[in-house]
Symmetry: C2
DNA sequence: CAGTTTATGGTACGACTGTTTCACTAACCG
DNA sequence: CGGTTAGTGAAACAGTCGTACCATAAACTG
């Protein structure tokens, strides 16, 4: 034996690569500029990740991991009613700090819709928000196996997020949340 | 003077190019394969459109033109209530024939969110559905200047479209429309 | 016919892509 | 020390990209 491997180095590079993708998007990603921005070389990226495709996968997993880590802790005080929880969800997901994640979310999903063969397990990625959201909106729900309520809420939130991301009209978006919250209460 | 120009040829190529993009997406588009699929040459594509960027713009305009031409005629029988019109809107936009347009819509918007500088007038593209939809949902509206109602409806529809496109779960999507229609009525 | 303009083919340029190969250094074990 | 393995730099490979240049054919006017 000799010179033990250093797995932490790969993780450091991965973290900075995820930062870069969250800041600049996935579309134009290529190894040489990415390596330059990360103070490394395309040689090392392939040494650590095998191929560009595997690097991208690792970046997406990392981005998803970061998002999931936060949604668990910061969301859903169980006490309030569904209307307040919708507002909390919207406030959290539409906050400026979340913009990079939202951008990446839409980028990946748009690409997945166009080329599903590259994303074998993406359908589950959409539906597994329902685990947390089904719990969050349990009392508006009709039975424990109800997937329709989270579907409705998430469809509205995602659609409104896209609207906000494109138009930047936060005022109109916030008022739309008010209106939708009113519909939920009635 | 000599040999008069033939503007119809450019339109023929554009129509077939739009077909190709609607079928295969914008992401991996490049001139040589596109030209091959269209029985022409990259040389001629640039001769007709000036640059790839201008070609893409023309294709997007053409795709949008086709979609707008249909939505005017096929939608919104003014007689029915808002619930029926929502169902009609959903049935129309989620029909299998619309899948290519929906795919392209999400692809363009995702790219626009990541790189807004390339789409100077995209915000209007999102909001001008409100002209037609504001008319469609006029009676659920609070006054003629109300943009919130169409925002809510379109957010729900777009988000649910993305869900359907990714998961393919039409059953759950249709039931979500039922639920949302119930909320609108109440 | 000559003259003029549109349309087209072929080709090459420079830049960029992901990946591979070769060489080399750095760090560890016995 | 020698031996072994991890890490790394530089360069090259084979390919694609958008585009520009040069020639030439095709269709028209006078």
């Amino acid at each position: 034996m000799a010179r033990p491997t250093d797995p932490a180095r790969r993780e450091r590079v991965l973290a900075r690569a995820a930062d870069h993708v969250l800041a600049h998007g996935l579309a134009g990603l290529s190894l040489r500029p990415l390596a330059a921005a990360l103070d490394t070389s395309p040689r090392m990226l392939l040494y650590d990740f095998g191929s560009k495709q595997e690097l991208v996968s690792a970046i997406l997993v990392e981005a998803r991991r970061r998002g999931a880590a936060r949604v668990a802790g910061e969301l859903a005080p169980e006490t309030a009613g569904p209307e307040e929880r919708l507002r909390a969800l919207w406030a959290w997901i539409s906050a400026p700090e979340r913009v990079p994640y939202v951008r990446l979310f839409f980028e990946v999903h748009a690409d997945a819709v166009a080329h599903p063969e590259n994303y074998p397990d993406l359908a589950t990625l959409v539906t597994d928000w329902f685990g947390t959201l089904g719990a969050t909106f349990r009392d508006v729900t009709e039975g424990p196996g109800d997937t329709v309520t989270p579907t409705v809420v998430m469809a509205f939130v995602r659609g409104l997020l896209l609207d906000l991301a494109v138009t930047g009209d936060r005022d109109r978006a916030d008022r739309a949340v008010d209106r939708f919250a009113g519909l939920l209460r009635a």
